[in-house]
Amino acid sequence: MKRFVLPLILLTVLLTSCGPVDLNAPMPIYETGIDPNSWVPIPAGEFYFGQHEHIESTLAYQIMVTDVTVSQYADFLNSALADGSVKFVNDEIVGFYPGDIFRGFEHEEEIKAGDWVFIPLDDPSQRVEFEDLTFSAQSGYENHPMTMVSWFGAWGYCDYYGYRLPTEMEWEKAARGTDERPFPWGEEITRENANFYASRDPFEDMSNVGSRTSPVGFYNGKKFGNYQTLDSASPYGLYDMAGNVWQWTGNVYEDMHYRFMRGGSKDTYEMDLRLWVRNNATPTYVSPGVGFRCVKD
């Protein structure tokens, strides 16, 4: 009998990996008190940029205090669909993008002017729903960051309202302020600072759905149920600049089609939440762990 114990344990473990994942499993609903429609001004001037703290500077701009929420994105889609700025193609919402200069560099792919996918609607992770000719946020996800949105979809949202995506420098300055801190709130990271992989927040269930997004502005020092958060705003008062979702940035670099993301996410370890860490993907990439916010001049 003994000889079967180990294989049986291993088999049990492997069988648990075959269990279905309930993407709509119940989740706590909290109002964080942080207004996703609010903006903060970032003054012009120098700041420490990147891991090696090079001194760079930006002009003045304003940036959203939180990531764009699912509700905000649904509102955008309703308006944009009504005036023809976006349209359905199969199960996707697509919109026009004017294209990039293409030089045919090694690994570079051409981004032509034309319609590109903003969001897929048929993906079970999509939290924007379309019923009765209206877009709306899935119940419980209204104040969560908009995810499953491509770079084009993020660009399209900002552009529609006359905003734009932040450059990497603008993003980092807004997150870091003018000192050399590695995280928006300071030097060290604890589980109560941000939503990252296995951070034991009230939204994650590591035995099934894994890490899930938290409402924007969740880590604001308030207590939600039995869960006490730490106020983790950036020096300029921005929330979720580390963790929760990666955020698309606006730079289009020469000789590459990749778009860059910042901030780490619910699916990454703490090391990726450091302010200078970059991630990138093709602009059509969508993920339950990628969102965005906008800036305006």
């Binding site: 291993l10 473990v13 492997l14 648990t16 990996s17 075959c18 269990g19 994942v21 993407l23 891991q51 090696h52 703290e53 560099f105 090694e106 690994h107 570079e108 792919e109 993906d123 079970p124 992770s125 050399e180 590695p182 995280f183 030097e187 992989y197 296995a198 590591m206 035995s207 099934n208 759905v209 894994g210 990666w246 670099y253 020469e254 000789d255 590459m256 990749y258 993301m261 699916d267 990454t268 370890y269 703490e270 090391m271 990726d272 450091r274 970059r278 991630n279 990138n280 993907a281 093709t282 990439y285 993920s287 339950p288 762990g289």
Partner: protein, 491 residues
């Protein structure tokens, strides 16, 4: 005092003692620093370790710390291979002693002061001593290369069973020489950018810049360096295993020229990445890797045939089952070449698949996904190298009977289970989306952790046994003082 002196002489003066010390040092580093990441971090163990040991973990310096950590482990592995080479291959006694002294002092300095500098505050004297350690290892490499020179008639080999030229130059020795020489040269491809980036601490991990379309010469140099050094460690180990098993015959005569050719071409390809020939370098690397891998395959074929032949020689007409049983009879002799074969499924084939479908599949995914594949890829390769070394070590310390079986099969099964899980984890995006991956990730993590933890436990038991043995006045260590690996080569 005499007791201490005798043990010191064993640990730092004998081949098996030196190897034991180096394995122990790597085991300690792996056990402690393995608690700083992955599941151990999730469980909160990292915080306890950091606090207990008083580590200074500045966020901006993580990449630099990891580079030093990788180098200290690699230096100990190179030292182990050097001890094996100097014990297996004929050379002047002066060279043997000089190489061993230099590399032992070198890797211990690099390890102790490097880790001291990286993780326990920035004592710049430690940094200097770390660099000194690396420099000593470099000098040891130069001396080893000279010592392995195949042109001295004293080292010629005209035995028909072994590969040699018409003039009697031993081609196996030539392969050792080529590997040592190219290792020394390739080390400079890390030393030069290391000096540059170290002077200002603008360090980076290669996997984080892999998608940048424009890389500097020194960035290419770093990428080339880490690839070729690991490949050369693997090639040298293949040669060592071949010598231990007494690789000979027709397969040997085909394999050795291929090994020499592969090593040289592979290196030329990697060095080419820092030249204007960079666009063609990958093709040269593929061309070089092919003969090296073929040579390893020929070693595998020869050694498996020999295991089967030796295990069935008492039978007149052995059945397939009897042959199979003979092949698997001794896990420590079967294991090294099996691990080389298994490596293809976890690293080589994955690497080739990635290269072929890079833009269609892997570069569509986020860079962080690609990073998982890259780091998983070379972690597995490094760990496979470690298991092969441990198999040889198990044989050289005379494990017999059931202990040999448990140790050997434990190494094979536990490591392969873990490496298979790592490989599936790396490639999971091919068949599962982020949204529904968690149960699979959990199962793979449990499997990996189980395999690796049990493997470390197995190693810990062996090391504890060797530690206890050191306290005995007539322990096994007293016999091992005079042992040389060349005397234990299979007949």
């Amino acid at each position: 005092m005499e007791a201490f002196s005798k043990r010191f002489n064993y640990l730092f003066g004998s081949t098996k003692g030196l190897i034991l010390v180096a394995i122990s040092m790597v085991a300690i580093i792996t056990a402690v620093w393995g608690m700083l990441s992955g599941p151990m971090a999730e469980l909160g163990v990292r915080d306890v370790v950091v606090k207990t040991l008083g580590m200074d973990m500045v966020q901006t310096e993580r990449e630099g710390r990891i580079i030093i950590l990788y180098h200290t482990i690699a230096m100990a592995i190179i030292a182990i291979e050097t001890y094996m080479v100097t014990s297996l291959i004929k050379m002047k006694e002066f060279y043997k002693i000089a190489v061993r002294v230099l590399i032992t002092v070198g890797y211990l300095m690099a390890m102790i002061f490097g880790m001291g500098f990286a993780y326990f505050g920035h004592n710049w004297a430690f940094h200097g001593l770390y660099i000194t350690g690396l420099a000593l290892i470099f000098f040891a490499g130069i001396l080893l290369t000279i010592a392995l020179s195949p042109w001295n008639p004293k080292y010629h080999n005209t035995d028909k069973e072994y590969a040699h030229t018409k003039k009697g130059i031993d081609l196996e020795r030539m392969a050792f020489f080529a590997t040592a020489l190219t290792t020394v040269l390739s080390a400079m491809f890390g030393a030069v950018p290391g000096s540059f980036y170290g002077n200002g601490f603008e360090t980076f991990l290669a996997e984080n810049i892999i998608r940048m379309p424009h890389k500097t010469v020194l960035e290419y140099s770093v990428i080339g360096h880490l690839h070729i050094m690991l490949a050369l460690i693997a090639i040298m180990l293949t040669l060592i295993i071949g010598r231990w098993l007494n690789f000979k015959g027709t397969w040997h005569k085909i394999a050795m020229p291929l090994m020499i050719l592969g090593t040289i071409v592979l290196n030329l390809g990697v060095w080419g990445v820092v030249t204007p020939l960079q666009p063609a370098a990958h093709m040269v690397i593929y061309v070089g890797a092919t003969p090296s891998m073929l040579a390893a395959l020929f070693l595998l074929i020869w050694s498996w045939r020999k295991l089967i032949r030796d295990g069935t020689e008492h039978l007149e007409k052995p059945t397939f089952g009897q042959k199979f049983s003979a092949l698997l009879r001794d896990p420590l002799k079967f294991g090294p070449t099996w691990q080389m074969l298994f490596m293809n499924f976890t690293t080589s084939f994955i690497g080739i698949f990635m290269a072929i479908r890079l833009d269609e599949i892997f570069r569509v995914w986020p860079a962080r996904e690609e990073r998982i594949e890259l780091t998983g890829h070379w972690h597995v390769l490094s760990a496979i190298i470690a298991t092969i070394i441990l198999m040889y070590y198990g044989d050289m310390i005379g494990l017999k009977g059931k202990v040999r079986q448990w140790y050997g099969w434990g190494l094979i099964i536990l490591s392969d289970v873990a490496f298979a899980a790592v490989t599936i984890f790396e490639m999971k995006r091919l068949f599962i989306t982020e949204a529904v991956q968690q149960p699979l990730v959990n199962a793979l993590m449990y499997t990996m952790d189980f395999g690796l933890a049990m493997l470390l436990l197995l190693l810990a038991i062996v090391l504890a046994w060797r530690l206890v043995d050191l306290f005995k006045s007539k322990g096994r260590w007293t016999e091992e003082v005079e042992h040389e690996l060349v005397d234990e080569v299979m007949k």
